[in-house]
Symmetry: T
Subunit: 150 residues, 12 copies
């Protein structure tokens, strides 16, 4: 099983700025934690961060065939990128939307995800654990579909 | 570590009605799956379902001292029970909000959770897996706090 | 054919208070009128009033098997009880929503029914006649389904 | 007792188009069913369909004196014809608003009736039965008023 | 100078129904009062009432050439007839919108006129006097334009 | 008969600024035109302009006893001065709201008058003629009330 | 004179949780303070707390005859319980709505009370003093009515 | 292949009024241009203009059998005529909605078409060319369907 | 202890106009009742009424040092005077907002107070008793702060 | 005449995914169809697809001089890219907005185009035919302007 | 060159209250800083503060002729004083709107300025520097206009 | 002191298109004016324009360490780029938002800046002067912070 992890804009700064909101863990730490869990679950993993909507759209486009599922933190794009929504809807893979913070307890505009309606599900509020649970969810979803196909 | 699992209204019907939307898994199945995982994680578990807002409020009130965290599927109460919101805010335990379905892909009114802003985090869309991930999240949150206290 | 009649909160006060709005007919009068019509139509009837959302949810849960249809005046719950909406959607019986008054001619908030979208139909504004027509509608709906099955 | 039945725009197509939504019953069938019930109830009946708002307004204007009550399916006009609303308010007859389908379970814009606030009551969702119940309601309302006058 | 007076839907009932809201004056009375004032002001007058949006649109279309100004009480059409708005905008005559009642003191939906933005001005709340002032306004507007042309 | 004419804020600049919107007529011209008409109608007139909400409120307070009616152009206060609304409602005189321009054809916020619901009626869009018609309306209203009392 | 004091959901936790928002005073303290003042004012008092909407509705139903007025802190139910609103409207007693905190200075959703429109009045923001003033207001209202009856 | 062209209210004035907005081309010119193109495409054409919603509804009702497709400029009815929307939905022909002007660049209320959701498609902004492209679109849609049936 | 009582616009008319809404008690009566209670409570009192927003703002500015608390009925200014809101926020005294009527049971626009979020608390609906309770609340708040300081 | 065809994000996937919504035609097929028609019309054509908002903005910037008109399917960017709107407004070429599907019959958010107000016109709902008609419209618009210049 | 500086309500308290929000600088300090910069720029300056909307309106009215530009901090009036908006629009001078704080980062209601649409520009968030930049902007605007006239 | 100037999308076209709205000054002119002022103020300056949201996000990310402050005209991104908002919030530098035009006097959607709440302040409406004042503001903000640190 292969899973693609996508990190949206500004997540490259993680752990170095606004640590009061986002904590001191870096994106490298998160990727390392994800690789550890992937190894434990027997999953191949690739992590990709970009500040570019187009780069994320394109990475999603090439995911089918290379990957069985996607764990996606769209960050700021969550709230307005219909291009990413359409890309998520277009790729025929389970996409798990994850957020480090509880977006429902922050500014009003962060409560609306344009991507969630076409994602398989959403996990928010647990910091790096959101990603780890997202990976587990992705594995589960792929297994379930495989079970249906079998 | 002890975790309380709360199931909101109508979840007692799970697996027997509207199986097109909610699947054929029953609440007993979910509780069994949760107990299995709890055993694996070394967690004591209690599961409680009620159609009564007051019963859920009261169960939350008595949770501190008895439990270290709560996994809560408020079902229909998600969208209007400010009484449950206030109860979640009042108990000083991490509360993980879970949903079987992807509430963001259903009717408009299901996209608003009055409880999410005061929950620790939210997991939706993965069926029984939402609960299992919720239990893992709760364990992680308690461990993290314990780490802070230690 | 068996029909369950459900009366929502405050309807127990009918005929004793706010008679300017709701008239002097009591809930007992309504139930008597319903039993008369039921006898005429060859229908077994049970009437149940509760101020408790949970009690109404639970009564709906046990209706299938015991009853063929439900006539339901959700009263104040009409406007916010998504728990009752979900219960109505879950039971696979025709549910006829009735209101004594013309809710569309009263306060703005009374014009929205969260239950109507999942009810079979709605009758409002005719006083006790709303219930009597509701019973006729329920009988008709059950007969129609029986015809389909036959 | 004399009752006028008014059918709004596009109802002349009933049973011949969009049968998935509206069924295969024709307007002639409905009128026949209404006449049968009218005969049973000792009511004189006239049925009138028009696609013209003005024709319906004018038919309402001449109803007092000729009829004791009106059963009215305003169809599309339900949602915007304030001219019909004002006509309903102006004629001093009980007007029962009926709908074949459950308008509350369809498109958002169908949930608002500009006519309901000035109608005596509303019945929706029961197909031809909505009309039959509407006729019974009209008879009941006229009888009640007669009782008050007597 | 020639002025066309247009009366919208239901105004033919004036003085015979809902006299509590609209008073006992009839449309004939209003037209008589208008003709008296027209005679005093040396104005030729034609009065036209219709319940039909199309008839009013068409009457407006033929007004230029025949009339120098229009006094128009669109009644219920005030609030939704964009067809009449477009007709008012299309004819190159001053159109004075008049209302018998103070529409701003009634139901919320009566506070919005889709016609007012393209009318020359609006007069509301003075009963038959609204029409009489409207005629004076029309005469003034025509005179002013004539002055500009001269 | 005595009539008070009230001019709201910025109207003292009339004819000297923004002549493209408001024309070249000055407030003195308007008052002169009003006095001429008042003389013709046998009415005593007083005109008062203020940029101060409090001054206008106080002038309204002292109007009963001194005047029989008020012609009021609240200008910018039209859209937010609930203090003036309450003053208009409190004085038991007919108050005619007038506007030089067609406020319904200008910015969105000018379409809402907080005063109109408690005024006797409203006249807008005719320039100085709005005032003159307002004076006629006031005279008519006082005469009508006098007739009722007589 | 007899006064019923009703406490809504979660108020049983008062003084033990979220003391930063609600202070350290307990519900027992409040009841004691109320009994002291009642004694001083010669009023019989009963205090009742419930997390159950139905229990509060039912307690209100039985209040007439037993009590002359009600002091009611609906807590979370303030914002959505139309069932309680209808119960308050149905009982023909003065009901004084009280809140410990200034609900207008907290979250947006706390600024709307569905109960206030049918209460006699509202007192918010003074902690336990809100209750004490509420008791005084209730006494005053009963005295005033008694005065009217005398 | 036979195509019906429907022109909505006020379009009969085209080219004679408001030429600044709509240009100097007349409805006759448009029909001539359409007939030329129809001849070129081997299409039989009928053009019908009405200011009457009812006439347009009725013309749509009789179109099936007589025509294979409809090109429809609903003009002002675009924005509120649910009767026309229902007629478009009822006739089982492809209906192409066309507009002379770019309705999205005009007043806010012109941006909402109640008809578009049930039309096959929409073309706006190209003057007479909107109609010509609409005719081509209609021909294409009919051909496509014929292809599917063949 | 010294308390300033501020009365907003139109309150000078109290008892002389709109007695159906506001009763027959005059502002002088209210001030007298307040002085009586002040004497009883050992409080020095000054009462000030103005129809001028600026005068009320300025009176608030000079209150610190002269007074320990303010009882303020902003009347119409409640709903829009952000200048008064900022003045209330700026003076470092407890300000108790009072209203004679139950503003939540009147027009929609009266339900929003721009001042309440920065007031200490709010009392509405009890007539002159609102003021008296407001004075008691003010005394209590000052005593509490004094207790904290002591 | 030279025309630039711009395809927005995710359109590169056309015909390979979500074929239920978008059909099996590929972007290459569309471009081929467009080139065929361009040849027939004597038009030079260039087609450009990008998932990048910036790339599309930049391609628009360089269009003047190279091209006489643009046919643009902004896809997801239709609904939020004000950068593209400003680019469309800035280039002084006719831009025809096209959509494969009827965006007015899909999700609510797809009904708003931020680009349409500054486009020359819009064509939606006809699949590849939308593009072909768009090309014809562009040719027509350029010819018309050329005619004006000539 | 002469510039008028206007300070709105409550700004007289600057530096003495709410120093956490507005800092410790006083209005006198601001005026001194402005005079220093004015001297440096060769500008004559007058500063005027008022809590009275009417006084500010009147000061604006007399500005033309006396001053070449205005720097205006409307404070609370920013959000509702249409009277001041109309005054700004009426005086034919460049008016620069300034705010000490970043109004877009504070309460929702502070994000709307009714004055900004008719001001020349707006500067907010820099404390006293907002005024100093505002003065520079005013000087620049006057110079630019002078250049145009020259 | 070093300041980064960021120009958003379409600003590269400045002075060459839509000169009626944006004037004839080019971006090069603006940068030259900024360099002149920077030299005068002893500031090192770098200017960067991009049509790419990602490029602007990335330029902001690398600004800390290289620059002491940012002057940012987000152009179209002002209204929807939450990615840029988050980047502005993340970099711990003062960011001054500038706009050439008065965005509050243009289309409704331009009145909302998603970036302003996290910027230090905003300057709009003064053409190139907005940038120059923005540079002065940035210098002032850096100096102030340096003063705090010193």
């Amino acid at each position: 099983m292969r899973v693609l992890v996508l990190h949206g804009p500004n997540l490259n700064l993680l752990g170095t700025r606004e640590t009061g909101v986002y904590g001191t863990i870096t994106l490298e730490d998160i990727d390392a934690r994800l690789h550890d869990l992937a190894a434990e679950l027997g999953v191949e993993l690739e992590c990709f961060q970009s500040n570019s909507e187009a780069a994320l759209v394109s990475r999603l486009h090439t995911a089918p065939g290379q990957f069985d599922a996607v764990v996606f933190n769209p960050a700021a794009f969550t709230h307005y990128s219909i291009a990413l929504r359409d890309a998520v809807a277009a790729v025929e893979l389970p996409v798990v939307e994850v957020h480090l913070t509880n977006v429902y307890g922050r500014e009003e505009f962060r409560r609306r995800s344009v991507i969630a309606p076409v994602a398989a599900g959403q996990i928010s509020g647990f910091g790096v654990t959101s990603y780890l649970l997202g990976l587990r969810a992705a594995v589960e979803l792929v297994g379930r579909e495989a079970g249906v196909r079998a």
